[in-house]
């Protein structure tokens, strides 16, 4: 059963109150809510505005600036594919095409059944291991799972993702 509005408001409030930052800013509040709810809802923006004493549109300006904030509830699983320069040179495009094909997506977004959310990432921070894929915040790369051949890695990734899809 979906959360009622009151429950949603309460969880936003909790996330705002609990944030562990030296100074509470619009950005820290946005991060706290994204961490706890997985996304920034419209009501969250309202509440951040009143909590930090800024205005709705200011908060939106900050939130929409950063591509890492999302504004709709995420899928159950979260997949990121790196398309930064290093990964690109190491064959990210092939991995990306496989992942998109397996998920039936044309670009980043959520699958229809909301099982998987896909996001492109410009750097996952482990360029030496590329091309990288992150599944539910766990990094997967050819060297990390022992696939020497790019084709093998693509197949492994497809398998992992099809497992996610099955649940």
């Amino acid at each position: 059963m979906a959360e009622t509005r009151e429950q949603h408001d309460q969880s936003i409030k909790d996330a705002l109150m609990k944030q562990n930052a030296k100074t509470v800013t619009v950005l820290s509040s946005l991060l706290a809510i994204q961490d706890s709810l997985g996304y920034i809802s419209g009501r969250a923006i309202d509440q951040i505005a009143s909590y930090t004493g800024s205005t709705l549109n200011d908060v939106w300006g900050v939130a929409s600036f950063y591509t890492n904030f999302r504004f709709s509830p995420p899928g159950e699983n979260f997949v990121e594919v790196c398309w930064g320069p290093t990964c690109h040179l190491l064959g990210a495009q092939g991995v990306l095409d496989c992942v998109l094909g397996e998920l039936g997506l044309k670009e980043e977004g959520d699958t229809g059944d909301r099982k998987v959310s896909l996001k492109f990432n410009t750097c996952l921070g482990a360029c030496s291991q590329g091309p990288l894929v992150s599944v539910n915040h766990k990094i997967i790369g050819p060297k990390l799972i022992g696939d020497a051949n790019p084709k093998d890695f693509q197949n492994s990734v497809v398998k992992i993702i099809s497992d996610l899809k099955k649940g």
Binding site: G42, T55, L56, N57, D58, V59, W60, G61, S64, F65
Partner: protein, 952 residues
């Protein structure tokens, strides 16, 4: 800082320049008439440095800084036009242009090089793609970007490759058309909304190449807190933001005049097209009254001038129908009729939009020709707010200027719907609050300013005066008063202090429902601030409560020493556009011009001598007494100078019903209004844009109206002309006026504090008007001078023709004339509820409320659709058996409304409140054809209601 106002010398392009510390290079250059191209900079806004157009070289400095963000320093040597800078600028414009359609620059048929191959009727020869054509941009030929690009010499001969963003053109907001394909993301609009208006309704969304301007999460402007002031349109350098009406029209002339919509008296440039229509309104950037701001009423509500329903010729009722007649016939008919009603059976009403001259001539006509003192102006609904002020201080007017509110340390707004009624004054309040002034709002309604308030005291309706008394009590209890000021300038202190004993804080808390601690906080804010501005309209109180609240506010100002101070003072908010002027020139029953008492026989005699006519001594009837007197038969004939007189707000009872009892009614109006339909004679008058005259605004500033349009297609005449002709037709040849300026001369001869105010002076050079002249470099459209120049007016008292007016009243200490502290009473706060209607309904208007708002497009305009919410106290809800979220019905004497119930603990027992969105008001205004649309929109007036479950 000691160096704050010191001067700095620098050299720009070899020219020695002296400027103030803190200015940027760009400002210094502009001050001395040097031009540096810029796009994102705008006068009055903080430096932003987005467009980089204004780069300069500073000798011995590093790189090429943007001159709009670089502060001047002593001995700086700046070059703005070296080869390197020119190359850089060209590169920068190319970058900007590479995201902007620019067929207008590259088409070989445009007139960039002096050859205009494209005539007005020509068909575009498809030199460029359809989205790129000059004619598909609404700012074609008045585009700052294009002018700047040409100025910097970016020689574009062929179109650059660029990606048309192909965003939809948004044309569904009530007044704006938004085409973000043309946006260059200079963020002027975002900053105007935030810095200039204090609204922050739009923001920059996303980033880098896809960055755009818009309200939060893709919502519409209606929901985002937009006031529809049009400030963003005024500052936009390209065609991204334009007015949707007359979007494609080109202006051939622009004239600056005074806005007729409210007492702020904004100076507006009216742009006229070649067919003589007013197509655009641009607020004057350097006018002292509005400083470049306008509001939805001024910016978008002046289209009535162009309406075809304007009255065309005089009409006389014959056999029940109004028939067109000539002026001669109408005049002799009215003159004959009025000759029968001389004396107290005649009453006259001027309009809230009558100029000083018209109000003056009408009262002169009524007094001397008609031998009656029954003369008033139709917006004189709350005389208490200023009358008491006049009694205590001397002048019935605001003590300071509008924009000094912004500089006050504390701003107290008492029961005033400023954002709607006096919009630009609310800008000063919001800007002050944004810059750290403590804004205290005392209002039982949720008005727009409560959003910016540091402290919102929400007294039970009708108890505002008790709350103010409580605040005064705290000030004296805690010895926060300005003793020095009180000793020097006030008397009657003992009586006043004795009267304060009644306001025990516990009791005040009980009566008003406001927490004792909040009252104390408010008192400390007011008393401990260096300067406090007091703004009060008191528009939802009854007369007795209003008088008492006015006394309290004046007491507060005196107790805290905020009289005769630069940034602190009293601002009574009158309702009509020219209420101030109407009072000044004596268009009220009991006062002669210049606030001289009617019963003062010396004053009357001197005026009689000046006029060469007699003035009756008998006290006249005021606005509120006239209509009952019609029913009793005391008033038999009436003359109403209309121009949309607002009789529809219900304060006066059923005016339309009472005027039916008149034997003879003359109405002067530009439109056939409801009251005109009942008249025996209707005389067509012209609108503000077609006549000359003066308005006096809420800060005592006398500003001229200029004739923007010729009188076209109609025999309408200015109201002053009609009245003088009528007097002449009745045999009074001394009413021999041939222009409004002549009447103003007579006013200034009769009123000492208008003595130096002459029409030619208001329009002359004397530091009041700057000569028109269009510079040869591109500037924002708002800065282009109107023909005939701009006016800043003169603030009375202006004692002679050398005097430049007075900004702050009562700066001189006058021992013989001390201000008397007013004793206070606790006025019964019980309101208008009756047995039948036991609850009190308190409406409010807020700008943003994200709950359940749906925007629907009706007739190509956005309309807000939502269940209106009514807040009730749990106790009332229980008694009425109403649950949360239940649909309920609200009934008052004159209306029936459906609401969704919300049970809110904070609301008072016996009080139900609702808020409607500001945006929905806007759409209502747009749908109205009335010149004074505010009259048709429900005011935020408390009234008695009953509530029941729907269907029960």
């Amino acid at each position: 800082m000691a160096s704050e106002n010191s001067e700095i010398n620098l050299i720009i392009d070899g020219k020695q320049i002296t400027t103030q510390t803190g200015n940027t290079i760009l400002q210094a250059a502009m001050e001395s008439g040097l031009y540096i191209p810029y796009l994102c900079y705008y006068p009055g806004m903080k430096p932003y440095g987005a467009c980089r157009m204004c780069v300069v070289e500073v000798e011995n400095g590093r790189g090429t800084p943007a001159s709009c963000t670089t502060p001047v320093a002593e001995g700086m040597v700046v070059n703005t036009d070296t080869q390197q800078i020119q190359d850089l600028r060209k590169g920068i414009t190319e970058l900007i242009i590479s995201e902007h359609p620019h067929g207008c620059l590259t088409c070989h048929r445009t007139d960039i090089n002096g050859a205009n191959l494209c005539g007005p009727e020509d068909i575009c020869l498809r030199h460029v793609s359809v989205t790129d054509r000059c004619v598909s941009c609404p700012k074609n030929e008045r585009c700052e970007l294009k002018d700047t690009t040409i100025y910097v010499g970016t020689g574009l001969t062929t179109p650059m490759t660029y990606k048309y963003r192909n965003l939809p053109v948004l044309n569904q907001d009530p007044f704006y058309d938004l085409d973000y394909n043309l946006c260059i993301v200079c963020a002027r609009c975002v900053r105007a909304c935030d810095e200039l208006r204090g609204d922050n309704a739009i923001t920059l969304t996303e980033r880098s190449g896809i960055s755009l301007v818009g309200p939060a999460y893709g919502s519409s402007l209606l929901e985002s807190g937009c006031e529809f002031c049009g400030s963003c349109i005024d500052v936009c350098p390209v065609g991204a933001l334009v007015e949707s009406d007359y979007k494609w029209d080109k202006a051939v002339e622009s004239t600056s005049t005074t806005c007729p919509q409210c007492p702020v008296g904004c100076q507006l440039k009216l742009e006229v097209n070649k067919r003589g229509k007013v197509i655009r309104v641009i607020p004057e950037l350097e006018a002292e009254a509005n400083r470049g701001q306008a509001c939805f009423k001024g910016k978008f509500g002046l289209d009535f001038i162009n309406k075809r329903s304007r009255l065309k010729s005089p009409m006389i009722r014959r056999d029940g129908a109004l028939e067109d007649v000539s002026w001669e016939e109408a005049m002799s008919f009215v003159a004959d009729k009025l000759n029968l009603y001389k004396g107290s059976g005649f009453a006259a009403l001027s309009s809230s939009r009558s100029t000083n001259e018209e109000a003056y001539i009408l009262q002169k006509f009524t007094r001397s020709v008609m031998n009656s003192n029954n003369v008033d102006h139709s917006s004189n609904m709350r005389p208490e707010v200023t009358e008491i002020l006049g009694d205590v201080l001397g002048y019935q007017a605001a003590t300071n200027s509008i924009w000094s509110i912004e500089e006050s340390d504390c701003i107290l707004v008492v029961s005033s719907n400023v954002t709607e009624e006096h919009n630009v004054a609310s800008v000063a309040v919001k800007r002050g609050s944004k810059n750290g002034s403590k804004l205290i709002v005392i209002d039982s309604r949720e008005v727009e300013l409560t959003r910016s308030a540091k402290l919102w005291l929400k007294p039970r309706p009708g108890t505002d005066s008790v709350l103010l008394g409580g605040i005064l009590k705290v000030i004296f209890d805690e010895s926060l008063e300005d003793q020095e000021f009180m000793n020097a300038r006030t008397d009657n202190l003992d009586n006043f202090k004795n009267s304060l004993w009644k306001f025990d804080l516990k009791k005040v808390q009980e009566i008003t429902g406001v927490d004792e601690s909040d009252i104390r906080t408010a008192a400390r804010y007011i008393a401990e601030s260096d300067s406090t501005s007091f703004i009060y309209a008191l528009d939802n109180l009854n007369d007795a409560q209003r008088s008492e609240s006015t006394r309290s506010v004046i007491n507060l100002a005196l107790a805290t020493g905020n009289i005769g101070k630069n940034n602190g003072g009293l601002y009574p908010l009158r309702s009509g556009t020219n209420d101030q002027g109407s009072w000044d020139v004596g268009c009220v029953p009991h006062l002669l011009p210049g606030y001289k008492n009617l019963h003062d026989s010396a004053a009357r005699a001197s005026l009689e001598q000046n006029w060469g006519l007699n003035i009756p001594e008998e006290t006249g009837l005021g606005l509120k007494e006239m209509f009952p007197a019609i029913i009793t038969g005391d008033v038999k004939a009436m003359m109403i100078v209309g121009n949309s007189t607002n009789f529809s707000n219900g304060d006066l009872g059923d005016v339309l019903e009472s005027v039916k009892n008149l034997e003879f009614l003359v109405v002067q109006d530009a439109f056939l209004t409801d009251i005109g339909m009942l008249a025996d004679v209707v005389l067509p008058s012209v609108t503000f844009a077609e006549k000359e005259g003066t308005f006096t605004n809420m800060e005592r500033r006398v500003q001229p109206l200029k004739q923007v349009l010729e009188i076209n297609n109609t025999y309408a005449m200015p109201d002053w002309w009609i009245i003088t002709e009528l007097a002449k037709a009745m045999g009074y040849d001394s009413f021999n006026y041939h222009c409004a300026a002549q009447i103003l001369d007579e006013i200034s001869n009769n009123i000492p504090f208008y003595a130096g105010i002459k029409y030619d002076r208001l329009l002359s050079k004397e530091g009041i008007l700057e000569p028109a002249g269009i510079p040869n470099f591109p500037i924002p459209s708002q800065m282009i001078p109107a023909s005939g120049g701009r006016n800043t007016g003169i603030q009375w008292p202006c004692l002679d023709v050398q005097h430049t007016g007075v900004k702050v009243l009562y700066t001189n200490i006058d021992d013989s004339n001390k201000f008397s502290m007013q004793s206070l009473e606790i006025v019964d706060g019980t309101s208008v509820t009756t047995k039948e209607y036991p609850l009190l309904f308190v409406p409010g208007r807020v700008l943003h409320d994200s709950d359940d708002v749906k925007i629907e497009v009706i007739n190509n305009k956005n309309v807000i659709v939502r269940d209106e919410v009514l807040q009730l106290n749990p106790e009332d809800a229980k008694r009425l058996d109403i649950g949360d979220f239940e649909m309920i019905q609200l009934e008052s004497v004159d209306e029936k409304l459906t609401f969704q119930a919300r049970i809110v603990k904070e609301s008072f027992v016996g009080v139900v409140s609702s808020t409607t969105l500001f945006g929905s008001l806007i759409t209502q205004l747009d749908a109205s054809e009335d010149p004074d649309p505010m009259g048709n929109v429900p005011t935020l007036k408390t009234k008695a209601v009953r509530v029941s479950k729907q269907g029960s």
